[in-house]
């Protein structure tokens, strides 16, 4: 666990680059600090391994106040990955990875084992790569070694300062995926700095959006996307963001929660009247159960009412009962696929399999889309 309490940094005693910042990062969590350049994200990160000393406030790693630890010992126990990699060009790859363990006077045989293990993990075969020099590796390979180097001393905490920003888009995506895979097994506490909101959303368990040395919003990526706390976050995230990452949209986000209920015993004429009144094309049919509560039993769409002249026809006779229940956390693309496959007009959405929270119709989907498509592109 990393905890920043009231941390400030000022270089001129007038403006605070980092301003009275509180931040708690749980063990095993990957937290992304994201913001425009100059927002204080890198400064915040560098205070955690004391490359920069705070002007005020305290920083704890687990229970230890890092100000009370010896600087170099602290840094050797924190992995550090930077944008320009910073491998030592005069040392071979194995020696580069071994730097921190060597500084800590680890047994050379153990170091060798560790180096082999790490090279295997980053998929650079030992025999082929261990004795090469950094300049003989591609940018992506170099940064993989950079990550391996940061892991060499088995640190619990890793700091990553825009580690993938200098790479080409394809390599960047590869390394992002590899990091996620690694994190799955390693479960390190990672502080990741980037200016790229896409990267933040992709990697972060939680994202801290920063501006002017403060954290504007600290939340899970989904929350940041769906419920930006203010206009700044909204603009920073981009109004078209959800549209670009539709897998973040869940059934519950596109559902229309305005439901008009009708009892199973009601007639067709009453149903038509209700639809007119509530300006809807679908009714939720409920009936009283033994526990005296209304329970959902089916739905009736306007198409089912058409051409029925028999006055004795009740809702229970014409309602649709074999209903595909959409779980509330089903992603948008899956919802669309089911609707297409089964040719559904109305899809009731359920929370925990039982509780009806609303109905997805073409209208509700259109409403969501028109909300998230940027205004400039709407025509």
């Amino acid at each position: 666990m990393i905890k920043l309490v009231g941390v400030s940094k000022s270089y001129d005693n007038v403006t605070n680059v980092v301003d009275n910042l509180d931040l708690e990062i749980k063990t095993g969590e990957l937290v992304v600090l994201v913001g425009e350049s100059g927002c204080g994200k890198t400064t915040t990160m560098k205070m955690i391994n004391r490359l920069i000393e705070p002007t005020a406030g305290k920083i704890f790693i687990d229970e230890d106040n890092i100000q009370e630890l010896e600087k170099n010992a602290l840094r050797r126990n924190i992995g550090y990955v930077i944008q320009n990699v910073g491998l030592f060009p005069h040392l071979t790859i194995d020696k580069n990875i071994a730097i921190v363990p060597s500084l800590c006077k680890m047994d050379p045989i153990k170091i060798d084992e560790k180096v082999k293990e790490l090279l295997e993990m980053i998929e650079l075969p030992y025999d082929e790569y261990a004795h090469r020099f950094p300049r003989e590796l591609s940018g992506g390979q170099q940064q993989r070694v950079g990550v391996a180097r940061a892991l060499a001393n088995d640190p619990d905490v890793i700091l990553m300062d825009e580690p993938f920003s200098a790479l080409d888009p394809i390599t960047r995506e590869q390394l992002q995926n590899e990091l996620l895979n690694l994190q799955e097994t390693l479960n390190k506490t990672i502080v990741f700095v980037t200016h790229d909101i896409d990267e933040a959303i992709k990697l972060g368990d939680r994202i801290a959006v920063m501006a002017d040395g403060k954290i504007v919003q600290y939340d899970a990526p989904e929350e940041i996307l769906k419920n930006p706390i203010n206009e700044f976050v909204e603009t920073f995230v981009g109004t078209d963001r959800l549209w670009k990452t539709p897998d973040m949209l869940k059934a519950e986000d596109i559902v229309s929660k305005k439901m008009t209920k009708i009892r199973a015993s009601r007639s067709v004429a009453q149903a038509i009247e209700l639809m007119k009144e509530h300006n809807t094309e679908v009714l939720v049919v409920v009936s009283k159960q033994e526990n005296n509560k209304d329970e959902f039993v089916g739905i009736v769409g306007s198409n089912r009412l058409r051409g029925i002249s028999n006055h004795d026809t009740k809702m229970r006779d014409i309602m649709k009962v074999d209903i595909t229940r959409i779980p509330s956390d089903m992603p948008l693309d899956a919802v669309l696929a089911i609707r297409k496959e089964k040719n559904l007009r109305f899809s009731p959405v359920f929370e925990n399999q039982t509780k009806l929270i609303g109905i997805i119709s073409n209208t509700s989907i259109l409403n969501v889309l028109s909300d998230i498509i940027p205004e400039s592109e709407a025509y």
Partner: protein, 215 residues
């Protein structure tokens, strides 16, 4: 071929003079390295100090060599001592300058990574800066050595001996082969020293470092 005859007949003398020459230039350069390199490392992080030291070294470089030898005489008398002192001063500039250059050329991200990994200042100096700057520093040593060997010929004027004495003796005796022998040996010595130092430089430089083409 008078020159060849001269060398064959006087090889003992020429060897002796060459030995003196090597001693003059060699001691001066060794002194300059042992002082100039540490000074370079010491002042590298202090821009203002580094600038001032460079200014002084530049000024020394502008003093005509003959005058510098003459200035050294009141303090060291005549002979090898004032010559070595003057040669040492000449050698300082390229060595300090290249040491500073070598350190400043170290990619800041490498230094940042080193700090971030918990290396102490001394560890960064010996494990990062020295190995990365060594090629540039050796470049300075080579320049200092080659110019030192050249300038050392003038040292004969203050009684320091060396190959210069062959040249000056030859001039006063109008003995062209003698002059040529002195000049030729001095030039060959400079080339040879540069070659050897080049080998040393290659030996000290990690193959991981791409050497920059130097002019």
């Amino acid at each position: 071929m008078n020159i060849i005859n001269y060398i064959i007949e006087n090889y003992a003398l020429i060897l002796e003079r060459t030995g003196e020459h090597i001693t003059l230039a060699g001691i001066a350069v060794l002194l300059a390295v042992s002082i100039g390199v540490p000074v370079g490392f010491g002042i590298a992080n202090n821009k203002k100090l580094a600038g001032n030291v460079m200014k002084v070294a530049n000024v020394i470089q502008t003093i005509p060599s003959l005058a510098l030898f003459a200035f050294a005489m009141p303090f060291f008398g005549i002979g090898a001592k004032p010559a070595i002192f003057a040669l040492f001063l000449y050698a300082l500039l390229p060595i300090i300058k290249n040491t500073l250059l070598g350190i400043h050329n170290v990619d800041p991200s490498i230094r940042e990574a080193a700090r971030g990994m918990g290396m102490s200042k001394t560890q960064i100096m010996f494990q990062v800066e020295v190995p990365l700057a060594i090629a540039v520093i050796m470049g300075g040593v080579r320049i200092a050595t080659v110019t030192g060997i050249g300038i050392a010929t003038i040292a004969a004027l203050i009684g320091a001996g060396g190959l210069g004495s062959l040249i000056y003796q030859g001039i006063s005796m109008m003995d062209i082969p003698m002059i040529t022998a002195g000049a030729l040996c001095s030039a060959l010595l400079a080339l040879f020293a540069d070659f050897i130092l080049g080998l040393v430089e290659n030996k000290l430089t990690s193959p991981g470092i791409v050497k920059q083409e130097t002019i």
